[in-house]
């Protein structure tokens, strides 16, 4: 459970940092009036905070699944599966999607609606391409006889990529709705916010994918072993 513990420690650090700014040591019974409400005039939009909290939940989900991966890996019947080279291409495509959304976000800030739409389309296409690529990787593996139930390494591979893929599908739904709404009409404040939120979500899913990819390729366990050696 060490991965989950590390993730929770990170979440706890954020919470402690935030709580430290909330005057938890104040004496509310002595304070009357408004002098102590130090909230600034422009808080982040609620949707952005909501997305931050949601990503915390998604992070907990994946870190727990990865913890389970490491615990299950310790048993003797584990034999890693060869990664299809295809996954490198997929990683690239997902990164392209992330870059495209970042581009879209920058262009919304410059109020370039036309370029924003192009960038959104590019991101949408990249997301779809990634999903198709993942399906191809699955097909390649099943054709080579690496079926879901043959080995725990296979089971985890399909489970984790499946979970990640479903999150990408969810992101694509949001992105698709945004693209449809943004088509043929000037972007308003809400749409610009949604572009930014999509970009954050995509960066996060890219990060999760990179962690998973490192996990499947065995680098993650090398790192873990290395850390273990450092500690002992």
């Amino acid at each position: 459970m060490s991965v989950a513990a590390i993730f929770l420690a990170a979440v706890a650090a954020v919470m402690v940092w935030w709580l430290a700014q909330q005057r938890l040591a104040s004496r509310p019974w002595l304070e009357v009036g408004h002098a102590h409400d130090r909230r600034s005039g422009a808080p982040p939009p609620a949707a952005k905070t909501g997305l931050g909290v949601f990503l915390g939940v998604v992070g907990a989900l994946f870190s727990l699944a990865i913890s389970a991966y490491f615990m299950r890996m310790a048993s003797s019947d584990w034999s890693s599966l060869p990664l299809p080279g295809f996954l490198w291409v997929n990683t690239g495509i997902l990164a392209v999607g992330s870059v495209a959304l970042h581009w879209a976000k920058v262009e919304t800030e410059r109020r370039n609606d036309e370029t924003t739409r192009t960038a959104l389309l590019a991101a949408l296409a990249a997301g779809l391409a990634f999903l198709v690529g993942q399906l191809f990787a699955w097909r390649e593996l099943t054709a080579a006889g690496y079926l879901l139930a043959n080995n725990p390494a296979n089971s985890f591979f399909y489970l984790l990529t499946g979970m990640h893929g479903l999150h990408i599908v969810g992101g694509l739904v949001a992105l698709g709705r945004l693209t449809v709404r943004a088509w043929g009409r000037p972007l308003d404040r809400r749409m610009r916010l949604t572009v930014e939120l999509c970009a954050i979500y995509w960066h996060f899913m890219l990060f999760v994918w990179l962690v998973l990819f490192a996990l499947f390729s065995g680098w993650a366990s090398d790192v873990v072993d290395f850390c273990r050696q450092l500690l002992t």
């Binding site: 002098a35 409400d37 949601f54 907990a60 139930a149």
Partner: protein, 592 residues
Amino acid sequence: MVDVRSGIGEALPPLEVEDVELYHPHSWWTRYVFSQDAKIIAIQYATTAIAIGMVALVLSWLIRLQLGFPGTFELIDAERYYQFITMHGMIMVIYLLTALFLGGFGNYLIPLMVGARDMVFPYANMLSYWIYLLAVLVLVASFFAPGGPTGAGWTLYPPQAVLSGTPGGKDWGIILMLFSLIIFIIGFTMGGLNYVVTVLQGRARGMTLMRLPLTVWGIFTATVMALLAFPALFVACVMMLFDRLLGTSFFMPAIVEMGEQLQHGGGSPILFQHLFWFFGHPEVYIVALPAFGIVSDLISTHARKNIFGYRMMVWAIVIIGGLSFIVWAHHMYVSGMNPYFGFFFATTTLIIAVPTAIKVYNWVLTLWRGNIHLTLPMLFALAFIVTFVNGGLTGLFLGNVVVDVPLSDTMFVVAHFHMVMGVAPIMVIFGAIYHWYPKITGRMLNEVLGQIHFWVTFIGAYAIFFPMHYVGLVGVPRRYYELGEMAFVADSVHTLNAFISVMALIVGAAQIVFLFNLVWSLRHGRDAGGNPWRATTLEWQTPETPPSHGNWGKELPVVYRWAYDYSVPGAPEDFIPQNQPTPGRLGHEAIS
């Protein structure tokens, strides 16, 4: 003496959240059924939770009938017995307590108490309820599925949960159970995001975090914990579904069943236990923290005294929330583990007793020299304190590895957790319903019926669970369908079991009085007025009772003080609402 006037003339800080455009329902359907109003959603959540809770109550009757009078009722065979205990536990913990505290009270109280018009994402909030309802329906469906519901125990430990020896293991039962949990978690996450972000960003002007009523602190912290803990259950459920449906071996070791070698191999049942209890222990506090918060407000209001040690109370809530994530393996002492792990988890478990004890002291010190009104909410709050102390003390026994190992599979554990996370939070739920019902409906609940309900429930619960400790100490195992001829089981145990069962029937019946009261008082209850308990918190200061859509009329409230200005010396009344700038009603010169 505090200068209650300081800081009043200062300029208002800017409005934290711009006054949002509310969704305005256009038809009966969107107003009362597919409503996006947190208050309606709260009532929907609470009604559904109580309804499914009644099913669990009836199941507990059936369990007790078997234990008290074994062999008398042909309806209850061994298989059904296991289905009953599984469903009773699962429903009570997740579909009743979690849903009622967070979905019910969270939805109703958070927007009103922080001074918001509604939750920040009303649409997701509505979806949250309907997904919860779907989870409940899937759960109920398992009663009617071939083979009946799962009988794996509420912890659903593999491998037995998916084997043919367990009821529902090879039928629909376990599948529906796992799907229902997965659906529940998805729905809860939607609601949970709302509760957290509304507290973070929906607060009215002047409502700093340290002015939040402890109810909101409790629900807020519990929601954060739930958002981080439920993913563990989610992962565990998905992996077990894979094992059951697709033949993977996440949790399933090599196993011979009915002389046949199953295709599983190498899986780790302990892995499931880690995931399950990583969720399961925080779950105890997900239920307890809202109860802590609510009970603090009930005691302060009905003792007409500010809560003792507000800051400590807040810190204790946060610390308990944090600590509860590093104690899970104390549920697994008997699963076998490295003794150093056992030592670590025993230590963290016992450390949790410190902030918890601080809270108990603060409740008692709040009562000390208070002007205690023995209203129904206060009675239930007092009952909570004693019950929680009782259950907490046996928890100290069980937190120690050496004491836990012999007691672990006995009725002692059953008595312990029913005291601490069964009876205690339920007491708070009752207290809270008696307290807030006037705000929700505009009418008081009937006092006489309430007194009957309280005394039968309180004394009855002790009559049930005190003897059960003794039954456990003499070694009567839990989870057994019948005891049969066991040398160490004295005759007195059988007598006690019969007594416990009779009491359980009586306490269960008393809840019918409560339900009747809820319905009867809707029409016939005494008119409550806007603030019958003369309470300070914002929900009692709404322009209308019950609060209308949007809660606050034209102007959002502005908060000038903390939530516990009761019996302030020099003030003309014994309470000063949070949105009142000066102690006097009209802001006059009543301060000496």
